[in-house]
Every structure is written in structure tokens, then in C-alpha cells.
Amino acid sequence: MSIMLRCHKGIGPAVTGTALVAKDNFSARYDLDRKAGTFSRPTHALAGQSYAGKILVLDQAKGGVATAWMLHEMKSSGVVPLALVFNRVNPILAQGAAFGGVTLVDRFEGDATDLIRTGDRLRIDPAAGTVEILNR
């Protein structure tokens, strides 16, 4: 059993992992403690939670330009999300994913933060533009 979701063609390698979902936005500079690998911004829906190795499923990319460098640095330190799944990203997150080699997809038919639940096992194929929910 699985559910196949279609999205725009993405960036980075195909990956399989576990989803961490929130109806909130994302900036590596504004929201993260990049050493601890947790959401540090007190008002973020995922405040205090660890993102390392998770597939982050969020609404929009926001704010600063720094995320473009930071994903690369995060990848090299190993404390990095496995993949990023968004409803719609801004150029910075796409540039950062391309530079850092982090898997990124967006633009679904429907709201990804409704379609995917925390704990779901996902297989993401950016080249095909698909996200498969393996456990449902």
C-alpha cells in the first residue's frame, strides 16, 4: 500500500526517510540552532524539535539569503535535514539545495502539509516529481 503524490520536478538525489510536518515556514538563519540540529525560534511550530535526518514538510520558504550557504555548511557537518518538501519555495531555498546537494521538491496538487503526516515514511524522486507515502 502506498499513496503517490505528484509535484514539480525538484533538486537533488532520490531519498527515503521519515516526515516531520508543520504548517509553518522556514529559514535556516531565522529558525534553527544549526549546531544542535533543532528549531530554535521560540515561535516556530517545531520549536525544540530535531530536524537532523528528517524530511521536513513545511509551507513556504521565507526570509534571508543566508540559507543558500547554510544548507551546504549543514550538509558538510552532517546535521542537516534529509530532504525538504514545501508547498512553494523562494529562490534562496532552491539555490541552497542546488548548491548543497540537498533534496528539495515543491508545488503539489493540494497542500503538502495536509497530505503528509509527521511520522510518514516517504520516498522522494525529484527527477520524476513524485513523493510516495509508503506506510499508507
Binding site: K9, I11, Y30, S40, G63, G64, W69, R88, N90, G110
Partner: protein, 420 residues
């Protein structure tokens, strides 16, 4: 993507490894956004502070900069955004020798590309104002929104790697704000309130940005009675871009392209986000936004004027507000501006008037890009006061408790040692 013969040759490595890396990166980003081709750009602006570069980013720059000079030189005028550290002030601010060493390495690498080390986020005020229709690769959200909105230039947010790629190829993928179809207004706001100072202009920008909440929304703002001026629009745009990832706003009669209203929802936006009609912002709304950051009576650890860099006019306003009073011994007052403005302030005597009060004037850093978390730990800073709504939005993630005050109240708080 459609590539010219020259671009194909770059991709094949005929122009050297830096340009091959650059165009390959641009194609990956361009295809993600369905760009048809690359568009020539006249300037690039690189955000490359060492806090976000990290060791990995600095090593990447060094490796690329090791190519032969003809292969690594930028093809268009290329500027830098603020740096991670000012070598004149870093010790006073609790920054470390390791940070300074990394910063030095980044500067050497960037200079090897032929980058002009302007180290500023107000290059549109101080270096080279953009012109209408000019395609750019600007690497600071505040610079992009001001260039697009006030001047009618055309730039996307270009992160450090992408701005460097644009500098090396002289072009950028044609998507987003390079295209007419993305520049139409998608949301309308009507003001029943006139902001009274720069902190309120920033707060208003923050409210509109937060409401829009997406790079792909373009707010049209009605009800502004008099031309706000450059510093007000600077704070307005920078906060809007910070809270909302917004890259273009329109004010009829004031911004460069203001008559082309089209509220067609953008393709790809979830249906629940589409809105129509006009949203009104009142004095009560604005006051409530600012009050959410209120902290009257609290001890204040650090007062920051930055984000964006101060214009010469703002530097004079800080000097006047201080009026030769002493900053409280348990409070740090930091003023951050561009190297150009710092030189002018030195020459005119503003730097001396500000620093005689115990304040620190830093050049080429913008506080939040300057190891803000490490500075908080080194100095025991928690409560921060500023007149920058953008800074208030960012700095919470670094463990600060920010409060938004007018420039005058910020200065009074620095003197009193508590939020007044």
C-alpha cells in the same frame, strides 16, 4: 533551458572550472523554476559573511579562487553584502580570533575573483542606484525589494552561491521577478494610519510581509499620503522581505511600476491562500504589532542600529539623539553602517560624537550576520532594543529578546540602561 553557443561552451568547461560550476548551478536553479533561458545582468551583489559561509563555504570559495586569473575573474561589477566581522571592533564585541581568521580567508578568496568589497546592504543608497528595467543579481533581500520596487529594476533573491555564479557568467536564469507576469500586484492593502518614524515604517512593512507570507505575492499599498523618503522605504522593504520573503511592493504614484494592478492568483498557490479584496491596516493594528515586542522597564543589554545599514542621515540622527550623554555602563550601543558612510561620518565628525558617548560604530557588519548568537553568549546579552523591525524579526532565533522602539527611545534606553 535554451543556451547560447557561448553558454554551451561554458557548460563544457571551455571557459574554465569556475564558469563551468557557475552555469551548471544556474541551470539547476533555472530548470527548477522553469526558466526559458539566461538573462544578462549588469551587477551582482554577494552575501558572503563567514557566519553563513562556515568553514565549508570558505573552502569552496578558496578552491574556486585557485583557478587561473582569466578563468576566475568576475564578468560584471560585483559587490559584497556586510561581512561577519569588522577588524576594528571585533574584540570589543566579543568576537574571536578564529572568526577573524576565517573572515580574512574569505576576503582573500573574494578579492581573487575581482569582487569589490563594498560590505554593505545599502548599495542602492551609497554605491550605484539601479535603474528601471535593469536586470540584476542582488544578494540581500532588502536590496532586492528596494531595487525592484523603488527603482523598477529586476532581480530575484540571489543567495551567495547564485550571486557568485551570476558574477562569473554575467547572467542569471530568467524566472520570477525578471518576468512581467510575476510583477503584477496580487494583494491590496489600504492604510488608515501614517507611520511616524522609521521603526513604524519597518513595523508596517513587517505586517504586510507577514500577511503576504510568500516570495510570489506582490502587495499594492494604498493610502500613503506623502512620499516617505529613502530611509523609510528602506526599513519598510527590508522588514517586508524579512517577515514575508517579499521581493516587490507597489505604492501608486511613488514606486516605479505602480499602475499595473492585476489580482490574478498565482498558479501553484494552494487555493486556501488566495484572497481577494482590500485589507485595511489601522493605527490599532500597527500599535498592536509593536506592542507584541514591548518590554517597558526591562534592563536592556544591547541597543543596535543596523539591518539595514544606516545612511548618513540616520548617523546624524543618532548623534543628535545622543546629545553627548553617556551610554549606561551595563549597556552596549552598537551602530552599524557601510564603509563609505563610516568614512563620511568620520570626516564630518559624526563618528566622534557617537563614540564619545561610549557607543561603538562598526563598518561593514550588520549585527545579525555577525555571529549574533556567539556575541550574546560572550557578552551576556539577552534584551535587545532596536528601531529595525527586520532585526526584531530575525534576532529571536539567536536567543535574544528583542523590542522595537523609535530611534530616540532606543538612545534614551541605552542611556538609562533600561527600556524607556
Amino acid at each position: 533551458m535554451r543556451l547560447t553557443d557561448e553558454e554551451q561552451a561554458m557548460l563544457a568547461g571551455a571557459a574554465g572550472e569556475p564558469r563551468r560550476w557557475a552555469i551548471q548551478h544556474q541551470i539547476a536553479v533555472g530548470e527548477f523554476f522553469d526558466a526559458a533561458d539566461l538573462v544578462p545582468v549588469s551587477q551582482a551583489h554577494i552575501m558572503a559573511d563567514t557566519e553563513s559561509l562556515g568553514e565549508a563555504g570558505v573552502r569552496f570559495l578558496e578552491d574556486l579562487a585557485a583557478a587561473p586569473e582569466t578563468e576566475r575573474r568576475v564578468r560584471i561589477p560585483t559587490l559584497t553584502d556586510p561581512r561577519g566581522l569588522d577588524f576594528q571592533t571585533y574584540k570589543r564585541l566579543g568576537q574571536t580570533e578564529a572568526m577573524a581568521a576565517l573572515e580574512s580567508r574569505a576576503i582573500v578568496a573574494l578579492k581573487a575573483f575581482g569582487v569589490l568589497m563594498t560590505d554593505t546592504c545599502i548599495n542602492y543608497q551609497t554605491i550605484m542606484p539601479p535603474t528601471r528595467g535593469e536586470h540584476l543579481a542582488m544578494g540581500d533581500t532588502g536590496v532586492v525589494i528596494y531595487s525592484n520596487s523603488v527603482f523598477g529594476a529586476r532581480s530575484n533573491f540571489e543567495g551567495g552561491p547564485s550571486a557568485l555564479a551570476a558574477a562569473l557568467t554575467g547572467r542569471t536564469p530568467r524566472y520570477g521577478y525578471h518576468l512581467d507576469e510575476h510583477r503584477r500586484a496580487t494583494r491590496r492593502f489600504r492604510l488608515d494610519v501614517q507611520p511616524r518614524d522609521l521603526s513604524e515604517w519597518g513595523a508596517l512593512g513587517g505586517m504586510i510581509g507577514r500577511e503576504c507570507g510568500s516570495y510570489w505575492e506582490v502587495p499594492l499599498i494604498e493610502g500613503i499620503e506623502a512620499a516617505p523618503g529613502s530611509d523609510a522605504l528602506k526599513h519598510f522593504g527590508a522588514a517586508m522581505a524579512s517577515y514575508g520573503s517579499t521581493a516587490l511592493f507597489r505604492i501608486p504614484g511613488m514606486t516605479a511600476e505602480s499602475s499595473n494592478l492585476d489580482r490574478r492568483p498565482l498558479a501553484g498557490m494552494p487555493a486556501g491562500r488566495r484572497r481577494s479584496g482590500i485589507e485595511t491596516i489601522s493605527r490599532a493594528d500597527l500599535d498592536a504589532f509593536i506592542a507584541a515586542y514591548g518590554a517597558a522597564g526591562d534592563k536592556v543589554d544591547v541597543v543596535v542600529f543596523a539591518a539595514p545599514h544606516l545612511s548618513l542621515v540616520e548617523m546624524a540622527a543618532v548623534a543628535d539623539a545622543l546629545a553627548a550623554r553617556r551610554v549606561h555602563p551595563e549597556t552596549t550601543l552598537l551602530v552599524a553602517t557601510s564603509p563609505e558612510i563610516k568614512h563620511a561620518a568620520d570626516r564630518i565628525g559624526l563618528t566622534r560624537r557617537i563614540e564619545e558617548t561610549g557607543a561603538v560604530v562598526a563598518a561593514g557588519i550588520c549585527f545579525y550576520q555577525s555571529y549574533a548568537g556567539e556575541m550574546a553568549a560572550a557578552n551576556g546579552w539577552k534584551r535587545l532594543a532596536t528601531n529595525s523591525a527586520k532585526l526584531v524579526n530575525i534576532i529571536g532565533g539567536y536567543g535574544y529578546q528583542p523590542t522595537l522602539l523609535s530611534l530616540e527611545r532606543c538612545v534614551d534606553s541605552a542611556v538609562a540602561g533600561r527600556v524607556v
